[in-house]
Symmetry: C2
């Protein structure tokens, strides 16, 4: 089995090292990851600059490339250009900080995995629900178990699991929940400041509003109840419900 590993915290981050060590026993690992942190880059790709690619030493027996682009660039380059054989799975992470609910739209970690399914390769994105914890023990166990499960099953090539792991001891984790994406709401989104020359600037800030629905099917609720949240993700942004409504406006009968 060939596993392509990427992340958005950069190739030197602790999370990707831990991910590789968790998955090593499952197959051949190829690491292609951003040379520096790319958090919140969304599904950005590099169009107007060349992408620099360096073959680097990552750890014994593992081929690795450091890339001057986003996680989506890394996976696209890997699948189409750098790897001689297509990988069987793309795994992105372990991200420091959750990727839950509507925030998934902004996530570089998840976009690396989406690039996998765009190329017909099943993928997993895995994140630890803490920006400060250095303890990846629980997340490693989860990464290994789920990746093994995915490799064992005859998966549809558009299967992407977005996995969030509570940042508690693995003994305290209650188990797995298959979830749907919830809403992530923030208050006080921006902090306004003025620089010494009188220019305005803003920092994205904001505190997460706790989920108001106690629907255990939501990722945001599952994680707050100490479950590992496993959400299947797709890339079809078509809103079929509204399609019908817009047709009923008679848009197609309007002239230009």
């Amino acid at each position: 089995m060939r596993i392509l590993v990427t992340n958005d915290d950069g190739i030197k981050a602790e999370g990707i090292k831990q991910l590789v060590s968790a998955l090593k026993s499952l197959g051949e690992i190829y690491v292609i990851a951003p040379e520096s942190e790319k958090s919140a880059c969304g599904h950005g790709i590099t169009v107007h600059h060349p992408i620099k690619v360096k073959k680097i030493y990552f750890s014994q027996d593992i081929e690795a490339w450091s890339v001057s682009g986003t996680p989506a660039d890394c996976v696209k380059l890997g699948i189409t250009t750098l790897l001689k054989v297509k990988p069987d799975i793309v795994v992105s992470g372990i991200n420091k900080g959750p990727n839950l609910g509507t925030d998934v739209l902004y996530s570089g970690t998840v976009s690396g995995a989406i690039e996998g399914i765009l190329h017909g390769i099943p993928a997993m994105a895995i994140s630890l629900n803490s920006f400060s914890s250095e303890d990846f023990t629980g997340a490693k166990i989860v990464a290994q178990k789920l990746c093994q499960e995915m490799l064992n099953k005859n998966l549809a090539p558009d299967t992407l699991l977005n996995v969030n792991v509570p940042a508690i001891s693995d003994k305290e984790i209650k188990g797995f929940k298959v979830t749907k994406l919830g809403e992530r709401k923030y208050i006080n989104n921006f902090e306004h400041r003025t620089d010494p020359r009188g220019n305005d600037y803003y920092w994205l800030a904001g505190q997460v509003v706790p989920p108001d629905k106690e629907d255990e099917d939501l990722d945001v609720v599952a994680i707050s109840n100490n479950y590992v949240s496993v959400t299947p993700i797709h890339f079809d942004l078509t809103n079929y419900r509204i399609m019908k409504q817009i047709k009923e406006w008679g848009v197609e009968k309007m002239g230009i």
Copy 2:
């Protein structure tokens, strides 16, 4: 009616000027757009840097801000912080170049509009199907007609229309099609080069593969048949179909 206008080609691009001139008669326009080009930034937001914001002159009677971030930053800042009253609609564009099919995932133009519906405000993204044409005549007519329609209807707050306009004379445009997102496939994705110091780099290149399905419901097909393509977009990335399948694996019964 208050209309928040953004784009990803930057506040000085011709497309946003043309968009504002097309929408002026419909209500009060507020322009909040990136100070420089942000194409293909996906749904990126600026987390690790401050966002500089400058009030600038755009055109008579129009308030405008230039922002050192992405289209998503612009709309988020506008709705939560800069505008005193929430806008009734967010319009993003007119983009130079199409935003069709799976490419929508990479689109800064569309992400500006998605940020609108994330905040409960209907939105439209509009793109011209050419990277070189300077003729926005057809796109202006379309922008005005559809925006007027959207303001007239009692729209669900999560209504986002992704609109692509053929780059032909407005007389030749055949009409409107309500579509779903197709696939955008490329061949020869990257060009490999070596710099004078022997370092490898890659340019994202790639030619679009013509759509193989003649399904007129697909955006990629509608536009190639000289129709304006109107695709409703949502932000729920949950793959409900696969949710059931993953549950059937017994994931929820697995221990950690």
